[in-house]
Symmetry: C2
Subunit: 487 residues, 2 copies
């Protein structure tokens, strides 16, 4: 038995948080960025009531052309947040939901400890007020998009498609679509304004959001990487624009930008993902055609970036054995797999990895440091420091009894127990949900009621994060049986 136990090492591991665990949010909310204020001339007459549906505009203002941003910041966020940019026909919710009710892509990345900023670009979703005049009417178009977005060829689903084939999911999917009330010229400005507000970030774009993504990345050096899911268009250095590629849906042509501007894209890591059902040769299907030309132009784009010394990667998912993805890959049934892929890319290319090279991760080390500081403060009877560390509900479990925060502080302050020195032989940290537990194998030398004693203990400390600070929620001493050999 003894041997059995002793061979079990207190190995140091970082628990991976599974997709079903709760998401622990430090802060969340919405705000708007960019836009302008239209100011009508004259003086506003406070006493004039014209009616609810009409307005006397004189002297009044109107904010327009802003973007709306929904953000969530998890506890222990990764260094760089992700900025999600939607494509044509919808809003930011395409990143935040799936048609069949599974986690949205932004929630998946939140679970991986990325802060998420999901944009509604100007004129879409919550960013409805614009400077444009637009007439919106119902135009039946869902079959067209079913085809274009490679869900299938209406009414047939693509074989093996990663899209839920029940009618409820399809209905949820189409109801994500929402009109664009903008003049289509405000996207880059809005992305830039968000970057200025939140600082360094990674852009994650989809489809028609791809092009403003490249533009924003060239414009602002705080964009530290771009992840593009099936981008719709590309930039090339002037004089290096490839011949347009013809196709049934209008084909695609590269947009020239000055070389100096293009070179900005060579200074950040870039990855593009394309899904399934994209042929190499011309097809009669609109969806095939639309993405055939964009994938082929995308290859040239990646070549151009890398030719100029950049670091761009094109991932054609079927080529790495991932099949069935539609154009809305981030909502597809295998979106957790795509989130894992993205996480790996971010780890490697953007250096977002929690390095495993050293013995402890930064969070583990943080807790160990706090635990060590605590032994020091106990030794020094530094009750002020301990008071701020101990959680209001903390319990202290000793051989002599169990008590709460106040009594523990009193015990230390009054000298009933003086924790003189903890000789730490081994320490490990385990994380579950949003708590960290530090297990320390120690010999503790202390003065208890005037007598100096030294005992071997396993000390269990439960740390919980509140107000952004780790607090000690439980401190438990387990006196170990003495052994003949040294610990």
């Amino acid at each position: 038995m003894k041997k059995c136990i002793e061979t079990i090492l207190l190995s140091v591991t970082v628990a991976m948080v599974s997709a079903q665990e709760p998401v622990v949010i430090e802060k969340q909310g919405h705000f708007s960025v960019a836009g302008k204020t239209i100011q009508r001339e004259g003086e506003y007459d406070n006493s004039k009531f014209v009616g609810w549906a009409t307005q006397e505009e004189k002297g009044q203002s109107y904010r327009a052309d802003h973007a709306f941003v929904h953000y969530q910041i998890p506890v222990q966020p990764k260094k760089l947040p992700l900025v999600f940019i939607h494509g044509y026909g919808g809003s930011g919710v395409c990143w935040e939901m799936t048609p069949d009710g599974r986690d949205g892509f932004s929630t998946l990345m939140l679970r991986k400890h990325y802060s998420t900023y999901v944009m509604d670009l100007p004129g879409r979703g919550h960013a409805g007020r614009t400077s444009a005049t637009t007439t919106v009417k119902p135009v039946a178009d869902e079959m067209f998009w079913f085809d274009i977005w490679r869900i299938g060829v209406w009414p047939d689903y693509n074989k093996g498609v990663q899209f839920p084939t029940d009618s409820v999911s399809l209905s949820q999917f189409f109801r994500e679509m929402t009109p664009d009330l903008s003049d289509h010229r405000q996207d880059v400005t809005a992305i830039d304004a968000l970057t200025e507000r939140i600082g360094k970030n990674i852009l994650v774009t989809h489809s028609a959001g791809g092009f403003p993504g490249w533009m924003a990345a060239m414009q602002n050096q705080k964009v530290k990487g771009v992840v593009a899911y099936e981008p719709g268009g590309y930039v090339f250095p002037e004089g290096e624009v490839p011949a347009p590629i013809e196709g049934l849906t209008g084909g695609v042509q590269g947009i020239p930008v000055p070389l100096e501007q293009f070179m900005k894209l060579t200074q950040i890591p870039i990855v593009m993902y394309f899904g399934d059902y994209i042929p190499e040769t011309p097809s009669e299907k609109l969806g095939d055609e639309n993405w055939r030309v964009r994938l082929q132009m995308g290859r040239k784009f990646v070549e151009a970036i890398n030719r100029h010394g950049g670091n761009a990667t094109l991932v054609e998912l079927p080529k790495i054995g991932i099949y069935g993805n539609t154009h809305f890959l981030m909502q597809d049934l295998n979106n957790t797999q795509l989130a894992d892929l993205l996480e790996q890319w971010l780890d490697v290319s953007v250096g977002q990895t929690q390095t495993m090279a050293k013995a402890f991760s930064s969070t583990e080390q943080e807790l160990i440091d706090i635990s060590n500081a605590k032994w020091q403060w106990m030794s020094e009877k530094n009750v002020d420091k301990l008071e701020s560390l101990f959680h209001e509900n903390a319990m202290f479990v000793h051989m002599g009894g169990s008590w709460g925060k106040e009594a523990e502080l009193e015990t230390i302050k009054g000298g009933f127990i003086h924790y003189k020195h903890a000789d730490i032989h081994d320490v490990s940290v385990k994380f579950t949900a949003n708590i960290g537990i530090v297990y320390s194998n120690i010999h503790l030398t202390s003065m208890v009621a005037g007598n100096e004693v030294t005992f071997p203990f396993m000390v269990t400390e439960v740390f919980v994060k509140e107000n952004g600070n780790w607090q000690l929620g439980s401190l438990v001493f387990t006196r170990l049986l003495e052994r003949t050999e040294n610990q």
Copy 2:
């Protein structure tokens, strides 16, 4: 010392989660409800590409008139979720943000463990596709709303107003406004559809969202209460409609409904809150006038409900010493105070309180039951049950050593330690963040390597909630010093 310790009782308390703690989300996402599908006649031609901006509608469909819902479910949610319904001129984000970046009202209630369902009513925000044809153009109206919503009398802020008076906040506030693309007839249907989908709930309405709130509550018995912040209109039993109240902004008149229908409102608790700056007598200010008539009609509405045996409360905030609230009270600088008020009302009137009458709350009892079951399973060597209870990263701290899940199960299965009986003298539960810690003062009788021993222990069990289930994350034995008297 001993006396000091022994007088400290292991009292049972439920920790209140402060506003700055992380929000722990079990599940979140978006979905749409209600709406219809417009289906054009004919057969869709998959090969026809007309262009991106135009469509050949033949055989195509168009989903319209749905509402969009953003939901978040916290861990340990209260029984009834809150459904938030916005008013005129905006979308659901009015509940999810504040102009100055503090927690939105829905986040405040989430922190109080309420599930939140925030609606974008048809034609607003993410619910942009409707069956109506609407022309949207910039109409300068912000000064009008500044006045109507009692922020002040443009350009002056009301004295003591609970609205941030910096220009950035005002700009954030106005940019929450978004067009309504609907025909204004789909709101009640959408609220009803959401209620059908999620079941029993409490409606929390604002302003013009108030009237559809009453209608939805009368229509669906699963609405178990209504909280109305400054509702814009009211229903009355036919024959009991008060005289219209005239005012500068058009006044207000009650809408008659059959008595039988009205009686539904007498069967659920209702509370209405009105803010500051509402005079009793006619005024020359539009904002004063707009809410003077609605408050006065609201008093008659509450009287009518209570006259018919209902339970409606009107809270005029200045009358209880809360001053400075605008029409957007849920975003005001004192919105945490209003959230506390709401929580109290929900506790008392809807029975959402975690009752303190019995010795343990339901969650505490749940953990104690699990802890007891665990002692039973240990005694029975029921390794299967224990395996599902023990967290993958669980540690077991004994006098003889510390080890992980697998080794503990092996120890129990192989009989190295047989936990025969735990005589529990006292038990308490402490909650911090999303964990629960059970402290049990026991005498444990066990067979260790063939010898029966009985020791007094303080057993510390750390439970974490994963996948909706409590799992044991740490089990620590602290052997207590023997005492002359019984424990």
